[in-house]
């Protein structure tokens, strides 16, 4: 579904990603793990068009989307859930959801999707008119995920969905991501919480300083000694989830 070939990304002179190639098949859940500055978020930004790659190609469903505008890429079916501030704080919950369908014109379909998401996350319905900035971290996360789904994506990119959330909310978030995948949406996940991400994923890529150093089935990586020492703590440590 998504193919990346020899991707190079730089911020000015700083090389963030270099010679990265990866592949995501339809219906898969693929994780990129790596430490800070490994180039994970940069890769997602290049896929969604927020950042222009300096070299390489990105193909989505056989179409070259390298350097296309975020608008165009979203319209093709890739939604990006960026890290950090996840919502429009002064807009209401409902307005936030509607922003997710900004490019869609089918009012009836939008209303139906909204209703479906409210059914799935009743807390959002309860807080429908409330400013999104007043929601708790977990509620904002539900809202951000719902907003991404409002564009009816074929592929969703999640950037650090567990960042800054309480452990029970992290678990809930990963449950939702698993559900999204089971409904047929392809998912690419970037995570520092490597253990939880690998448990969830089909396959994973390990990025280190802009290069891909390891890849393979997630189960296999969980058992890999290098991954264990670098990302999961020592092999006998109890993973903190």
């Amino acid at each position: 579904m998504l193919t990346i070939e020899n991707l190079d990304c730089r911020y000015g002179q700083v090389i963030a990603v270099s010679g990265l190639s990866l592949e995501i098949a339809k219906g898969e859940l693929v994780t990129l793990i790596g430490s800070n500055g490994a180039g994970k978020s940069t890769t997602l930004k290049a896929i969604s068009g927020l950042l222009k790659p300096s070299a390489g190609r990105i193909l989505f469903e056989g179409v070259d989307i390298t350097g296309a505008s975020p608008r165009e890429i979203l319209a093709r079916g890739i939604a990006h859930c960026p890290e950090g501030r996840r919502v429009f704080p002064q807009m209401s919950v409902e307005e936030n959801l509607e922003m997710g369908s900004f490019l869609r014109r089918d009012a009836a379909g939008i209303a139906a999707d909204k209703a479906r998401l409210y059914e799935r996350f009743p807390i959002l319905l309860e807080r429908r008119t409330q400013a999104a900035g007043t929601l708790s971290g977990g509620e904002q996360q539900m809202l951000a995920i719902s907003r991404a789904l409002m564009s009816r994506p074929k592929l969703v990119l999640f950037d650090e969905p567990s960042l800054g959330l309480a452990p029970n909310i992290v678990e809930r978030t990963f449950d939702i991501i698993r559900q999204i995948r089971s409904e047929g949406t392809t998912v690419a996940l970037v995570e520092q919480n490597a253990y939880a991400a690998l448990e969830l994923s089909d396959r994973a890529y390990v990025l280190e300083q802009g290069h891909m150093t390891l890849s393979g089935p997630a189960r296999g990586l969980l058992a890999d000694p290098h991954v264990q020492s670098a990302y999961l703590g020592t092999s006998d440590a109890i993973p903190v989830n």
Binding site: S48, L50, S69, P70, R71, L74, A75, A79, H80, P82, R85, R86, V87, F88, P89, Q90, M91, S92, E95, E98, M99, G100, F102, L103, R127, T129, Q130, A131, G133, T134, R147, S151
Partner: protein
């Protein structure tokens, strides 16, 4: 009830020329009204897209100069050996020309400046206003420089026999009120539309706005064009009211005044620039009426400004909304915050 308040307010304002005979007070109301129109246009940029245009007076001045020049006619060398000659045009046409000129400049500045945003936009807008002021000062052939454009005709509408002249103050007042109401309605429609939501989204979180498919630069340019057209309209009204335009129209202090009106009234609210404009437009004159010496007037002005900013940091209108929960007709973010606060307590 609150639904009808704005209409009643406009009706009251419209009735002023019928009973107000004091020309001095009408003059103050006219100049305040013109400033409020300009402040409303600045609010579209500053309040809704979050971009501070510190050269906003440029669009006001361009509207004034273009409208005045078109109505007077002019001859000027655009390039060596290229003489452009324009015969005097009817004032209504000149005013539309002034609005269009300001809008075109807004488009150019928007395209140029929004490649970068934030602080860079502030710098580009300040520089633009200063460049325009220097052009107005030094291109004597076109603008008369510091000698100013004089004898600018007042607006006349209709044919002979049934002619409306906007020379006298009551008529000018009505015209300014009409343009103000029109601008308000236009801005309200814009900010409540899909485009308006895109503007608010990019103010709130630009990278997120981009990721939901909003072409951020396009909406910023749109906001700049509309804002500069409205500021140009205010400038055109000014030119044909005071009937003299000189380069001092581009002074930085006028931009600052507009910013004060928007910020104290409440940026990002529709009523904010009106409340701030009434307060800081009428204040200097009312202080003068109280026979205060000028330096005391300015101290009072400054003190009031500091008090408003200190006690109502988000402006008067948001404070009122919060206090009484009476939101604007829009699903305003502030009302949402109020609702949220109530829900929590």
């Amino acid at each position: 009830m609150t639904r009808w308040l704005p209409h009643l307010f406009v009706l009251f304002l419209a009735s002023v020329p019928l009973w107000m005979t004091d020309n001095y007070i009408l003059h103050i109301l006219i100049t305040t009204g013109i400033f409020i129109i300009a402040a409303m246009s600045l609010n579209l940029l500053l309040g809704y897209t979050g971009q501070l245009s510190l050269g906003h007076v440029a669009f006001f001045g361009i509207g004034a100069y273009a409208s005045a020049l078109l109505s007077l006619g002019f001859e000027a060398h655009i390039a060596p050996g290229l003489l452009v000659k324009v015969l005097p045009k009817p004032v209504w046409f000149a005013m539309l020309g002034g609005i269009a000129s300001a809008a075109v400049c807004g488009y150019a500045i928007g395209k140029l400046a929004f490649r970068v945003r934030g602080a860079y936009f502030v710098i580009v807008s300040i520089s633009f206003a200063e460049v325009v002021r220097l052009v107005a000062l030094n291109w004597v052939e076109l603008t008369q420089g510091p000698m100013a454009l004089n004898n600018i005709p007042a607006l006349k509408l209709g044919a002979a026999g049934l002619e409306l002249s906007f020379l006298k103050k009551p008529m000018v007042y009505t015209l300014v009120l009409a343009v103000a109401v029109l601008s308000y309605v236009l801005i309200r429609r814009l900010v409540q539309s899909r485009a308006g939501r895109a503007m608010i989204a990019l103010r709130e979180n630009e990278s997120l706005a981009t990721s939901v498919g909003i072409d951020v630069t396009a909406y910023l340019v749109l906001a700049t064009v509309v804002a500069s057209a409205i500021a140009g309209a205010a400038g055109a009204l000014y030119a044909h009211y005071v009937r003299i335009v000189d380069p001092d129209i581009f002074l930085f202090i006028y931009t600052v005044t507009m910013v004060i009106m928007v910020v104290t009234g409440g940026k990002g609210t529709l009523a904010g620039p009106i409340v701030g404009g009434v307060l800081f437009g009428l204040l200097p004159e009312s202080l003068r009426a109280m026979a205060m010496p000028p330096e005391v007037q300015w101290i009072a002005y400054g003190v009031l400004m500091v008090l408003v900013v200190y006690f109502l940091p988000r402006g008067i209108v948001p404070a009122i909304n919060e206090r009484w929960g009476a939101g604007e007709a829009t699903a305003s973010p502030l009302r949402n915050l109020v609702v949220a606060a109530k829900a929590r307590s």
